[in-house]
Symmetry: C2
Subunit: 336 residues, 2 copies
């Protein structure tokens, strides 16, 4: 039979990205990689949830980043979107553009991607490989019971604002990675770098928050950039006390307070969840986070109006930094 | 309210890519662009169909290509995958990576994308814009009645092989575009270039073929590259008479016969459909194509075995060209 080259596109996907038949069958995959499209069985009574995110070398991760962390990241940023909807991830497709075929790089990339996929029972159901500058687009598909998704627009005046985990760690880790600080070998530095390289999407917390929180979104671009989107979508004003922003022990140990605050406010890539929750429901949300060994911290509240304001030590505060925006000239501080 | 920059990512998507609320509501979109993910209502009793394809500047289209044709192409290549499954397209997400924001380019790109989307009642439900070398990933979602999809693996020994439309035109058009032949102004040249720039995905033919054809795939990489995939998936041998390959009048008029045959065999980007169909069902498939004013031509047949062979004037023939493979060194003849 005339066959495509030994490392043709089809074979490339198959060789590096197909693990086993079993996990695919378990996830509602009728037909996976290998035909013109995948055929998928969405659970009855659910809404389909779909999101897409691209990461580009030199923009979202250093050109020389460990391929394993790049594979993890490409899926993690998408799982975080599913988490923010309170949805269950099911399937992903991967569009991988690479300058050349490097089997070692691909092996590590696939390991990072598939280990995280396995951890969340996500099946890779479609792929496209293309030659070009390194960039990775992943689309994630999931489901949520009909009408139960957490939207940005569901918040009510009087709701508390709460964030999971700690803020700014990933931005700190990226700065340290760029400064080659890992070689210094401090435990705190390693922890911050790990937070950048292997962000943990809060899928289980998102699922637990369904029916409790009134609104949610993930913090991909930093609190200063993201909070206004939730406030705008809900038609409310937001007020945050920056003294309440949760900082990790590693951040406090390794970074001066002013820089730590800037990163907590505007550092992207934390992939923590921001919730709006009625004060009477907060204890339930906190208990859910406790069960997952996750911090959950109130940082402010929502009210009638249309502004986002910040306070520090009881006084008005204007953040000197803005969130990550791929096309805003003013916000390149966390690009690589 | 503190707001993102005037041309932030969110606003960028909204400004160029959101047409109106009405068409989105009609397409089962519960929640479209603007939250962490889209919420979609899949019709009952159907399987979800998902595919992804990326096009990269300088690889799949010339760097200086008209943005309108690039927008069309980004969606067309994905609609073609849906067509090959006999499915109905519903929704798309767009991951757009651009070196900079050029409003004129974006306006034309969006027009090309959205005009084709409207023609097929496809709603754009998610987007991600990133700065980087120009490349576009689209994921397409559709539906098909449970169990009714056309697969590559469904062919039977004795089935005829048939292709829609004419082959090789897009490859000829690309070559002429690169040679700046459009300025010469010949009607045939313009027609071939149009076939490259504005390929028409055969969605309606795919739908009509459901329940008639036994297998289908789209010809994105050229017949020489794609036919072995269908034969392999079905576990059969294929034999094609290259004398039967359908050539357009424009091709016959503008291109010498040897070059025309090479392009018909191995030129990518035609986005015609290749079918396997039982001989007794061929007339039905032909009638369906006739109703759509599309040619449908038998080019060979499938039999027990595991080879793909070609004949010309009744003699064995070995194609001197291979299909487009993004990572095969031997097949760069139609890259740009």
């Amino acid at each position: 039979m005339s066959s495509p080259s030994d490392l043709g596109e089809f074979e490339l996907i198959r060789r590096f990205f197909i693990r086993d038949e079993k996990s695919r069958r378990e996830s509602g995959v009728i037909l996976g990689i290998g035909d013109d499209a995948a055929l998928l069985d969405l659970p009855k009574g659910t809404d389909l949830v779909a999101a897409v995110d691209t990461i580009v070398a030199g923009r979202h991760f250093p050109e020389d980043a460990d391929a394993r962390s790049v594979g993890h990241r490409a899926l993690a940023v998408n799982l975080s979107d599913i988490a923010a909807m309170g949805a269950t991830p099911l399937w992903a497709t991967l569009a991988l553009t690479m300058p050349s075929v490097d089997p070692d790089w691909l092996t590590r990339f696939a390991a990072g991607f598939l280990d995280l996929a396995d951890a969340h029972a996500v099946a890779l159901v479609g792929g496209d490989t293309t030659r070009g500058p390194l960039s990775i687009s992943v689309q994630i598909l999931g489901h949520v019971p009909h009408g139960a998704a957490l939207r940005r627009s569901g918040a009510q005046a009087g709701d508390l604002l709460a964030v999971s985990g700690t803020l700014g760690d990933a931005a700190a880790g990226l700065a340290m990675l760029k400064a080659s600080a890992r070689r210094a070998g401090s435990c705190e530095v390693d922890e911050l770098i790990r937070r950048f390289e292997y962000a943990e999407p809060r899928v289980r917390l998102g699922l637990s928050a369904r029916g409790i929180a009134s609104a949610a979104m993930d913090l991909s671009d930093g609190l200063v950039g993201d909070l206004p989107k939730l406030a705008l979508a809900s038609g409310l004003a937001a007020r945050v006390s920056v003294d309440l922003l949760p900082l990790s022990a590693a951040m406090k140990a390794a970074v001066n307070p002013g820089q730590a605050l800037d990163w907590a406010l505007a550092g992207g890539d934390d992939y923590e969840l921001l919730f709006a929750v009625h004060p009477e429901r907060f204890a339930e949300l906190k208990a859910a986070a406790d069960r997952l060994n996750l911090m959950l911290t109130t940082i402010g509240e929502l009210s009638v109006g249309a502004s986002v304001t910040w306070s520090r030590n009881g006084k008005e505060f204007v953040p000197s930094v803005s969130g990550f925006d791929h096309f805003a000239q003013a916000s390149t501080q966390i690009t690589v």
